[in-house]
Point group: C2
Chain length 166, copies 2
C-alpha cells in the first residue's frame, strides 16, 4: 500500500486572524459541496447544497426530500461541507477553501425558530421563495465541530467552532 | 423525523445524448470535490482534488500523502466525486454538476502505465511538474461505478460507466 512520507512536516497550523478572516469570507458563500453517508452501505455521497448562515451566524441549508442527502442526513447526521470562492483563473489547488466537519440538525416545520430562519434565508436566496414552503423541504442546521482552511499549496489552518462564528 | 414526500415523483431520468454530452463537458474539469471516509470513524470527509482523465478517458487524480484523503482512500477506496463548471452568475442550484460514485485505485510508482499517465497529466496540469515526482505523491484512478448528472432544479439523469466514457 502507498505510504505517506513522514519526512515532510504536516503543514496544518492553528488559525490566526488572517485565517479567521478568510474563513469568514468563505462562510458568505451561497452554495457548498456536502459529503454525507449513504444509509444502506455507509458509502460516501457528495452533492451541491444551498448554503447560508442563520441570524446567529451558524451554517444552514435548505434541502428537498427528493435529494439523496436528505435521506442520508436523516439517518446519520455526520457530514462535511466545503465552501469555495468563485474561481477566476489559475491553479484551483491554490484557491482558498474551507472544509467543515459538522452534524446536521433538521429544523421541524413547527420549530418556533423557523419563521426567523425562513425570513433571513430568503434575503440571501430570493429564488427559494418558489419552494421554501413545499412540504418536503426542510431547513437543516449544519453545526460545525471543526474547520480546516486550505489557503493554498501547503498552507492550511485548523479552526475551532469559535473561530468560525461570524 | 422528517419524511420525504412520496407525492412528488423522483425526477431522475435515464441519460440521453444531451445528458451524455453535458457530462463529457464536466469531465474536462481540472479539479473536483471528493467525498471519502475517515478511517477511524467512518465519518464523511470532503476535499478539493486535482482532476483529469487518463489517456483512455477515465478519471484520475494526483494526491499528496499529506492530504487526509490520501490516508482515507488507502483504507477504504469508496468515494464520490463532484465536477462542476466555473460559475458565472445566477442560482448555483441550477448550474450543472456531475456526481460520480467511484472507487480509488492507487497507481504504484513502478506501475508500467505511470509514465504515460504522468506525461498526459502534465499536459493538462503543467504546474504539477513541481511536485509530481515527490515520493509521497501518487496518481489515483477514480473508477466510476455510476454517475448522476444534475442539470438544474428537478432535472437529473442517471449515467452508466459507459455513458461516462470520453
Amino acid at each position: 500500500m502507498p505510504q505517506s512520507n513522514p519526512q515532510r512536516p504536516n503543514p496544518v497550523q492553528p488559525a490566526d486572524d488572517a485565517a479567521r478572516a478568510l474563513a469568514q469570507g468563505l462562510l458568505a458563500a451561497n452554495h457548498a459541496a456536502l459529503s454525507c453517508l449513504e444509509p444502506e452501505t455507509g458509502a460516501p455521497l457528495i452533492s451541491r447544497i444551498a448554503f447560508g448562515l442563520c441570524p446567529q451566524g451558524l451554517p444552514l441549508t435548505l434541502i428537498s426530500g427528493l435529494a439523496p442527502h436528505f435521506t442520508a442526513l436523516t439517518a446519520d447526521p455526520r457530514c462535511s461541507v466545503m465552501l469555495t470562492t468563485a474561481m477566476e483563473k489559475g491553479d484551483p489547488l491554490t484557491h482558498p477553501r474551507l472544509m467543515l466537519r459538522a452534524h446536521a440538525r433538521f429544523v421541524r416545520p413547527d420549530d418556533p425558530e423557523r419563521a426567523a430562519l425562513r425570513a433571513h434565508w430568503l434575503k440571501g436566496h430570493p429564488k427559494a421563495t418558489l419552494y421554501v414552503d413545499f412540504p418536503d423541504f426542510a431547513f437543516v442546521r449544519l453545526i460545525p465541530e471543526s474547520g480546516l482552511l486550505n489557503a493554498g499549496f501547503a498552507r492550511a489552518f485548523r479552526l475551532t467552532p469559535q473561530d468560525l462564528r461570524a
